[in-house]
Symmetry: C2
Subunit: 487 residues, 2 copies
Amino acid sequence: MSISDRDLARLFSAKRVALIGASANPVKWGSIILSNIRLGHFNGQVFPVNPREKEIQGYKVYPDVASLPDGVDLAVIAVPASVVMETIRECGYKGIPFAIVISAGFREAGNPDKENALVEAARASNVKIVGPNTMGIFSGGTGLHALMPPVRPPVGGFAFLSQSGNIGTQTLALGGINQVGFRYYVSSGNEADLAIHDYLDFFASDPEVKVVGAYIEGVTDGRAFYEAAKRVTGKKPLVIYKSGESMEGARAAGSHCGAMASSPRIFQGALDQAGIVRAYGTEHIVDFARAFLYLPLPKGLRVGIVSWGGGWGVVTTDLCRKAGLQVPRLDQETLEKLDKVLPEYWSRGNPVDLVGSLDLNAHMKALEAVALSPNVDAVLTLGTIGGATLIKNSSGSVFGRALIAAAEAADAAFRERISDLIEKSRKPIIGVSMKNEDLQDGSSSGQRLVVYSSPERGVRAIAAMAKYQSFCKARGLNAWLGNEPAA
Amino acid sequence: MSISDRDLARLFSAKRVALIGASANPVKWGSIILSNIRLGHFNGQVFPVNPREKEIQGYKVYPDVASLPDGVDLAVIAVPASVVMETIRECGYKGIPFAIVISAGFREAGNPDKENALVEAARASNVKIVGPNTMGIFSGGTGLHALMPPVRPPVGGFAFLSQSGNIGTQTLALGGINQVGFRYYVSSGNEADLAIHDYLDFFASDPEVKVVGAYIEGVTDGRAFYEAAKRVTGKKPLVIYKSGESMEGARAAGSHCGAMASSPRIFQGALDQAGIVRAYGTEHIVDFARAFLYLPLPKGLRVGIVSWGGGWGVVTTDLCRKAGLQVPRLDQETLEKLDKVLPEYWSRGNPVDLVGSLDLNAHMKALEAVALSPNVDAVLTLGTIGGATLIKNSSGSVFGRALIAAAEAADAAFRERISDLIEKSRKPIIGVSMKNEDLQDGSSSGQRLVVYSSPERGVRAIAAMAKYQSFCKARGLNAWLGNEPAA
């Protein structure tokens, strides 16, 4: 079955949502999901269904599906597996076009027949199913948190699908820590009906979605997946984290071992051909999403490195080379600019070692020189951001209040300057700070600020951007220019 | 020059420390280092030296080295490079056996002759030098923070050497986040006099040091390094992070390019032969140190996985296989124990998928069954720790106060249980939580609790422990049993 984009738009913008199996018992999922919807400030109406309650959490409760008001877009189903099929049929009678089947106990529990029967019933009833065995969906457009886990992701341009609920939950939580906002999230569950290619097609078509990601354990329709993935990458970056590649992992994922054992290489080939960026962990997904959301793509592989300390410069250079990036020598003009701001014994090379200078103005000037160098396509600035935090957090305040304030002002100015420089140079500039608290920045001036907690993460993100850029260039794609600074 | 252990013991337990170049100007290193020593609650005496001040930060100031009291163990030198040599000679006249030369401007700035002259003068004066171009040392025994950066590492059994000050600072800061306490830290700088093998020898011999780590950019005396490293690994684990391996990285590290280009493989071979565990990043160093400090070594490669969610189980299985670990099927007796606590549709495999159960008692029983299985050498428990934090932090508290309290109590009991199980099973058990705040645990019951924020980190740590264990086994080493639970 193929779903048109229009159809899934209704799922993800549902304004009238029924929760079938709503519960007054706070440790039941039928209560937790209702709380999540309520506390998530859903911009729509919720209709709990439960035959034994009149009111739950202040909502009027309906005794059954038949008595629901008309025009319900979406039913969230959290009833025992044994009555799911019947519930789906009732949704069909009622004209509800979508159902999220939270309930488990189907294919994943060794009951493929039960799942097949469910799908047949759903199709006969004209109800499209998310799941079963799903943790739900999130829509940033309507604020719908139809989710089992009590996570409240920030809203933004990232659309994410996960074939594992707990990997999805972790990714949503990491998004909150790393300033990655979600437009949509779907825990796709067993994908008995709606499958990964349907969601990808919708994410490709929705203009509010700027970057797409997915965690995959297995794909049943490889061709449909590949075609949908290409439709995404023709418009915007697609980041994929795939597991279940070892025999034992495939077994754990419930995939057929023999079929999977030969596939990792084939899968990687397909990913490369479709211009998909590969992630190896949830942190990678979120890191790449952040870079793609906030930064222009590098035009090439040449990285300029500006480091407060020499060690990070060395480490970062090694990492760049291992990742297939270049660390070029700087041009004469840039070297002369740097001569003016650095001590005479500076190494005159790339990485630019700021030799521990406490003069943040020199850091800024050095960064500016490197960012504007014609030899450089992307820049990593290491250690400067976070200096202020380090100073502030030194327990017992080695430094006086005035010094801390000065360091904070310098830090803020430096962050501003990075934003400006990205606009001016049209190149990605990434900060690396030792301190986790620097990863977040709520200020509007931080719009283009991407900061990671290690050189590894920064280099990885540049490599991911460079990979997608080279794909776009090879295909003559100019479609994805969302983050290009205005000329 | 070879240094006997006894000598470095005096350096790291120095009780009478002179700071030459102490300053009243709070943005000078001569002031910041003094603040760090003062606020670090040094269990000894500090004698600032400055010809123009009478008192700084409440300390009596001495006008020159000659007027210092007798019996000074250590001079910290933060004066311009041009007067360092003279200062060292003065230290020699005064009988001060050790000097930390903070001052830069020697070999690293293209002045090898200046450095050679300094070393000659130091040897003629009987002063042993840390550095030059060092960020200082830390001693957990005396609380001496003779450091440029204002970091206050926790005290414990880890001894760490860094050839880069900023990598060292980052590692100290990460130690604070990840419950890794330091016995000693040295930023070894240019290693003009005291070199990595001297420090390693001392770390090997000091019984307070349980685990040793080093960040290395280059080794000048390969043979001495190798022999010292083997003396460490014969007694305790040694973790090494080496950079400067690419041509460009070696250039940045100031190493000779031609010599370095062929060396990574040789270096790796030497590490393997010496039983050294290799780290690729500061996070790895700290993660491995934490595992070695708190856990017994696994007796083999077989990992049992208990996961709250299926996705993490799959991911972790893949990671184990890639790391050369095994994910064996469980024995019949263990399966039967698990049948009693898990829903009947559980997958009866390893990883053990807890299928989202909210019953933490079932989690505990499942973990216990797996930890005691004869088929398993090490255990990863994913998702259970952190459930309470997730619940507590859900903004708007979806869950009521009583539920949160119950979740926290269950979490605390689970952590206790892990400690007990490690004692009982004599196997390493590692927790993985989504939430960073779970990585810390101040309670005494957490002594044996090792928690990481991702499956990647957990698997990596088990692989590191298994590597050292197999080295010890092959060599018949029983020396390192520090973390073996009492029989």
